[in-house]
Each structure stands twice: as structure tokens, then as C-alpha cells.
């Protein structure tokens, strides 16, 4: 049952998103099953679309391009690092397993012990991800973050770059960004900045080798490009 055809005026208003919610529901209940109304709505699409293009055209500021593309490249690199981190962990596990098997074949007496260590190493890493106790796997170590305001997550520390995986982040407004800082002793340097997704999750790479004693922190900054934190630290993770 698709009901009566909506008024043509209503189809036009629907295409301009100018109907009230109840009327929208009525059109959406009817139109998909009605060839005539579907045709009419399809015919309206280009006319509505061109309204958006009919405005005076301006050149967006170059800083906007820089900002958007910097975020895009950073996120693409973080994803890449995440993927290659997962690959290295897989390869390390495979190597350890092969070594363990070879050892087992070559030196039966110690082979079993070796295999047990491999198992403990891999298990240690997995447990660390769950509990945040740090791993003994050798490839990467996961450090829990100490945070406030409902934020949580982990810092996975690898040899050349590390990855912050966070959740519970508040949405930003305007040009605000979350800024990652790397502190060692008395020196603090800015690392990546990021914007969480709509569910408050974010993953971001932290560049460089993080040695024991290094602290990774995040602040909420009014815009990218700060050289020192201007707001309170929202979370931190200490590399042991």
C-alpha cells in the first residue's frame, strides 16, 4: 500500500529538503514504490544540485588546503604505519615460530623451552594490549594512557614510530586540533595532531623512537602549529 500520490508541490519541497518531518515520511513511504513520483524526484535532482553551484565562486584560502591535506596525509601515514606495524608483528611472530621449530629440530633438549618462550612472548604482547602492562614480545610494547574526562586508549611503542589509539575524545570545534607532544627530561616537542571521528575515536602516529623515560601527552589546542602546549594535558603515556 503506497497511498495517494503526493502533491507535486510537495515533491518539489521534498527535493529542497523543505518538508516537515511528517510530510517527509509520507513521501518516503510512497515514492519508492511509485514510478511516476520516482521519475519526478529524479528529474528534480539536477535542478536542486545546480542551486549549490549557482553561488558566486570564490577561491578557498591556501591555508585551508594545507590544513586539510596535512590531516589527510597524516592519517594516511598513520594507517600505513598501523598496517606495516601489524605486518612486522606478524613477520616477527613467524620468524620466532620458525626459529623455535628449527631449534626444536636441531636441539631437542632446549627446543621445548624455546618454544615456550616464544609462546610467552606473543602471549605477553597480547596480554599487554588488554591490560596495558607492557609486552615482552620484542616487536612492540603497548603502554596504557593515563587520561581524564572519559578518555582511554593505548600507546603501541615500536622501533621507529609508535601509535596512539584513543577513544572517548570530545568533538572539536572551529580550527581546534588534538596535539600530541613528546616529552623527555625538560624538553617537549610537538608531534602529530589529529581530529577524532564522530564516535570520538582516533589513531595517530607518534614519530621517532620513544626511549624509556619518554612521555607522550595530548592537549586540545585552538589551532594546529603550536610549538608548546597552551592547554592542560588531557592524557599521557610513559614509556618504561
Amino acid at each position: 500500500m503506497i497511498g495517494d500520490h503526493p502533491d507535486r508541490d510537495d515533491l518539489v519541497a521534498y527535493s529542497l529538503e523543505a518538508l516537515d518531518p511528517r510530510e517527509v515520511a509520507a513521501v518516503e513511504a510512497h515514492a519508492p514504490g511509485c514510478a511516476r513520483c520516482t521519475r519526478e524526484l529524479e528529474a528534480l535532482v539536477p535542478a536542486v544540485a545546480v542551486l549549490g553551484e549557482s553561488v558566486e565562486q570564490f577561491e578557498p584560502p591556501p591555508e585551508l588546503r594545507e590544513r586539510v591535506l596535512a590531516i589527510v596525509h597524516e592519517e594516511a601515514e598513520a594507517k600505513q604505519a598501523e598496517l606495516s606495524g601489524a605486518r612486522s608483528r606478524e613477520e616477527a611472530t613467524t620468524r620466532r615460530e620458525r626459529r623455535g621449530l628449527r631449534g626444536l629440530l636441531m636441539r631437542p633438549a632446549v627446543g621445548l623451552a624455546g618454544l615456550a618462550i616464544v609462546g610467552a612472548g606473543v602471549g605477553g604482547y597480547m596480554v599487554a594490549e588488554d591490560t596495558g602492562n607492557g609486552g615482552g614480545g620484542g616487536g612492540a610494547e603497548t603502554v596504557p594512557v593515563v587520561a581524564q574526562q572519559g578518555i582511554g586508549g593505548t600507546l603501541a611503542v615500536a622501533d621507529t614510530s609508535s601509535m596512539l589509539d584513543l577513544h572517548g575524545l570530545k568533538q572539536l570545534t572551529g580550527r581546534e586540533v588534538y596535539q600530541v607532544w613528546v616529552a623527555h627530561g625538560t624538553s617537549v616537542r610537538p608531534s602529530s595532531n589529529f581530529i577524532p571521528d564522530s564516535s570520538g575515536r582516533a589513531m595517530t602516529a607518534v614519530d621517532g623512537k620513544l626511549t624509556p623515560g619518554t612521555k607522550v601527552m595530548v592537549t586540545r589546542e585552538p589551532h594546529p602549529g603550536q610549538t608548546a602546549p597552551t592547554s592542560p594535558v588531557l592524557l599521557s603515556a610513559a614509556v618504561q
Partner: protein, 190 residues
């Protein structure tokens, strides 16, 4: 794929690469559509800073959503502008208790596009846009006004009727008549 190769791709062939998170493909997408996105955002929100924010959020949402573009929903440009419009209208609703910026004031704040070498597609788009602008200008004021309040202001027809103190049926009829004229202009342009 090199930048030059990406630049030769049609929008519809570029979007699957953006969906696969190819940052270079996104750069090409950005260069093609950011001007229209920014201009529309500016037209709706009426300030340069807010237009930048809306454009940034809309384009990053496309990047982060894996660019869920569906050819059935029209051109990439129309789809992108739909996202920009929704973000801009959301911002208006959030910030103001509604104050659509229907006058094109403050343009001196923004530099006009410099003369540039346009692709055929872009040149055609601009020509069509110019004709539609002309058609909107030629519409009787009362038709143009209701369309602009709906599209650029995000108002429903009942809100518009209340605002203009006109019967709802009159507002709806004006919208239809105006849109019919725009469709006719488009049909001639194509």
C-alpha cells in the same frame, strides 16, 4: 598512479581511489571541488572562518567515510555540495537559533578566483552555474526568495510561510514555479 594520471580521471573513477584512502587521489578531488564547496559554505554561513570550518569538516568527512559515493545519487560535485550544504545548515541551526545569510554581503573579505586554465568540465559547470544564477535572478522575487530560504537557509516550507506571513499553499506553489523555471533553464543549457 601519478598525479597527472589521476588528474585525467573522471570524478566517478577518482572516488574509488579516494575510498581506498589514496591521499594523492584526495588531493585531486580537493583541487576539483574545494572551490565550489567553500563558495557554497560561504553563501550559507556568511563568514569566511565558518565557511573554512564547514568546508574542512565536510571534505574530511568524505575522506574519513571512505568516500561512500553512489553514482545513483547524481554527480560527485552534487553529492559533495549536498554534504557541504548539510554541514553548513547544521552549523547555522546550532549556532544561532537560525539566521540564514541570504544577502551576499562581505565578499570583499574573500579574493575572487584568479583567472585560471579551466578544464572543459569545469568551464561547462561554470557556464551552467552562470546561466542558473541568471535564471534565479530573473525569477520573480517571491519565487526566488522561497527557494533561497529553503536551500540556503535550511527552512521548511511551513517555517517560510510563517516568516513571510503567507499561506503554506502559496509558498509551496512559488517553490514549484521557481524550480520549474530553473529546470527549464537547465534543459536549455544542456
Amino acid at each position: 598512479m601519478t598525479r597527472a594520471e589521476l588528474q585525467r580521471l573522471a570524478d566517478e573513477d577518482l572516488m574509488p581511489l579516494v575510498a581506498r584512502e589514496d591521499p594523492l587521489a584526495f588531493e585531486v578531488f580537493y583541487d576539483r571541488h574545494s572551490g565550489a564547496a567553500y563558495s557554497l559554505a560561504y553563501r550559507i554561513v556568511g563568514s569566511r572562518t565558518a565557511a573554512e570550518d564547514v568546508t574542512q569538516e565536510a571534505l574530511l568527512s568524505i575522506w574519513r567515510s571512505g568516500a561512500r559515493y553512489d553514482r545513483a545519487r547524481g554527480s560527485v560535485r552534487a553529492w559533495t555540495l549536498g554534504i557541504v550544504r548539510n554541514r553548513a545548515i547544521d552549523l547555522l541551526r546550532k549556532e544561532s537559533g537560525r539566521s540564514p545569510k541570504l544577502a551576499a554581503g562581505g565578499e570583499e573579505l574573500i579574493e575572487r578566483s584568479p583567472a585560471e586554465e579551466l578544464t572543459d568540465t569545469e568551464a561547462l559547470r561554470r557556464e551552467t552555474a552562470r546561466e542558473v544564477r541568471g535564471a534565479i535572478k530573473d525569477l520573480p522575487d517571491e519565487q526566488s526568495r522561497v527557494i533561497q530560504l529553503a536551500y540556503f537557509g535550511g527552512f521548511s516550507h511551513s517555517e517560510i510561510a510563517e516568516m513571510l506571513n503567507e499561506p503554506l499553499g502559496t509558498v509551496k506553489g512559488r517553490m514549484r514555479l521557481g524550480m520549474d523555471k530553473i529546470r527549464a533553464t537547465l534543459a536549455e543549457a544542456w
